[in-house]
């Protein structure tokens, strides 16, 4: 994508290029259609040339066990017993949600290491990444991972390289059930609305779209059977927001702290200018803490001929 399309940039306080309007895109993941085949994981690994290490099984279908610098998307499996006592297998494809208000970008201290494109894709630029991990601290979805090989942060790019040339993301292309679809955000919302009507007619009264407002909406959205309880889906946050601690740390405190430090230096300077330094007068020679009484005869005037001056007039 062209540099004109970068509409937000980490650690940058001036306005980004904003003359060009672009349609926002979105990936819609329909958890109700997902069969957990992991083809999306394989496609992601293939397209992005990522080969994670073979790990260990922890007794679940989650494989690998967690996201990593080399695993940008992961199916998370949850066994849920519903109110009727039936078992539901809830499968959620986890990965970057591409927030409209990205916590990672807010927290990042390195200019241009995290950018947001006009179409909504949030991308990491590893060339500018310094490896501090602030993006992990800022992310409400626990997505970015620091590589132990190069200490850079990685996550799903929404296949920004493919989208830039008019292709859909690799996971979308490969999904055999059509559970993952891609298009303009408006079209995806419409598509989701149709799906939700269908699900409600099949008894999923709480079916709905997951496009959380707390982060300004996301460019990866879910259709959930239980949209009233996103937590069921392997801990998908009910109401994700940028943590107030991160908002304070990387928000208003930054300019205020800088201002206060500058003001302190200025205050010192003007104190010096107005009040001036504290000097010890040369004639303030303190005697030793002498207990003997030193009597000065007022009739005796000290006059040093070596230092002419108003010696005689001194009291």
């Amino acid at each position: 994508m062209a540099s004109q399309d970068i509409i937000a940039r980490s650690a940058t306080t001036t306005p980004p290029p904003s003359i060009r309007q672009q349609e926002e895109v979105a990936k819609l993941i329909d958890t109700t259609k997902c069969i957990g085949c992991k083809a999306c994981q394989v496609a992601c690994s293939e397209w992005n040339e990522l080969r994670d290490e073979v790990g260990h099984s922890y007794g679940t279908y989650d494989n690998p066990h967690d996201l990593s610098a080399e695993t940008w998307t992961l199916m998370r499996f949850t066994e849920h017993e519903n109110a009727d006592g039936n078992l539901e297998w809830l499968i959620r494809k986890d990965g970057c949600m591409h927030c409209a208000d990205p916590g990672c970008l807010k927290a990042c201290p390195s200019p241009g290491a995290i950018i947001k494109h006009a179409n909504g894709i949030v991308d990491f630029n590893q060339d500018h990444c310094i490896g501090c991990g602030y993006c992990i601290t800022g992310c409400p979805f626990n997505i970015p991972r620091i590589s132990q090989k190069d200490h850079k942060a990685y996550k799903c790019t929404l296949c920004s390289d493919r989208v830039a040339v008019g292709l859909e993301p690799a996971c979308v292309k490969t999904c055999p059930t059509g559970a993952i679809v891609f298009g303009s955000k408006e079209d995806m919302k419409e598509h989701a609305a149709d799906r939700i009507v269908d699900l409600k007619s099949r008894g999923f009264a709480n079916a709905g779209l997951y496009d959380p407002d707390g982060v300004g909406g996301t460019h990866v959205m879910y259709v959930l059977h239980h949209a009233d309880q996103p937590k069921l889906y392997a801990g998908l946050p009910d109401q994700p927001v940028i943590s107030p601690m991160v908002a304070l740390w990387k928000g208003v405190s930054k300019p205020l702290a800088l201002l206060a430090m500058g003001a302190a230096v200025l205050a010192g300077f003007f104190h010096y200018v107005r009040v001036g330094p504290q000097r010890v007068e040369e004639d303030e020679h303190p005697g030793a803490p002498d207990t003997s009484v030193h009597v000065v005869d007022p009739a005796v005037h000290v006059y040093d001929p070596g230092k002419p001056g108003p010696g005689e007039t001194r009291p």
């Binding site: 650690a11 940058t12 306080t13 201290p109 390195s110 200019p111 500018h128 310094i130 490896g131 501090c132 991990g133 602030y134 992990i136 601290t137 626990n142 620091i146 200490h151 943590s243 601690m245 991160v246 304070l248 740390w249 405190s253 930054k254 300019p255 702290a257 800088l258 206060a260 430090m261 302190a264 230096v265 010192g268 104190h271 010096y272 009040v275 001036g276 330094p277 504290q278 000097r279 010890v280 007068e281 040369e282 303030e284 020679h285 303190p286 005697g287 030793a288 803490p289």
Partner: protein
């Protein structure tokens, strides 16, 4: 009458102080580079962003270790005494260079003592929060809530520390003679009497006793 300058800081104390000062400047500049985008250019002083990220925690750790040396040397002299309360109430006169009604104080004035304990508190907060957000080694042992809180506390403690040091440096510029005390170690008797009279009396009482004994011997 004895006109010899008084030794206020010996060579070890001076070296320790300046080691902490140098490490503070380095840790402070590298930390500010990561704190505000307007200061990110400071990272170039350390060889770029990644090097700033790598070096900053080690600089901070070294600063803390050497600061402990100062704490061990000076904490006793920084315990508050009776006159300190009145001195603090008369801080406005002190600020105007007026001496009328300002009580005599010990080796450190209450402002310096407040600074000392503030620095210690900031250093402790910086150390513990810094460990939590040290991504390369320790962050995996802490939850995201702790990491977020630690990030905030680290920035807050650093802010208070930087402000305190600005005050500290200015005081050194304002009070002529204190800077050279930390550079060469000695202060004039007049300086000692003017700024730290109780300490001056204490030090010169020893002198008087010494000379008394030597005369006798």
């Amino acid at each position: 009458m004895n006109d010899k300058p008084i030794l206020r800081y010996n060579a070890n104390e001076r070296s320790n102080h300046w080691l902490v000062a140098i490490l503070f400047i380095l840790a402070g500049l590298s930390g500010l580079a990561l704190f505000h985008p307007a200061l990110f250019w400071l990272s170039h002083l350390f060889g770029g962003g990644p090097w700033t990220r790598i070096l900053h925690p080690f600089l901070g750790l070294a600063m803390f270790v050497f600061f402990l040396g100062l704490v061990i040397r000076f904490w006793r002299a920084n315990v508050f005494i009776g006159n300190d309360r009145l001195w603090l109430r008369r801080i406005d006169r002190v600020m105007r260079n007026e001496e009328e009604g300002v009580p005599p104080i010990g080796k450190y004035n209450p402002g310096q003592k407040l600074l000392f304990w503030t620095l210690l508190l900031c250093m402790l907060v910086l150390l513990f929060s810094g460990v939590v957000i040290w991504r390369a080694w320790f962050s995996q042992y802490f939850g995201i809530g702790s990491i977020r809180l630690a990030s905030l506390l680290h920035a807050l403690a650093a802010f208070v520390l930087v402000l305190s040091i600005i005050v500290h440096i200015y005081a050194g510029i304002w009070i002529k003679g204190s800077g050279s005390a930390m550079l060469h170690g000695r202060v004039s008797r007049a300086w000692a009497k003017k700024h730290h009279e109780l300490w001056y009396r204490e030090v010169t009482r020893d002198d008087a006793q010494d000379s008394h004994i030597s005369k006798k011997g």
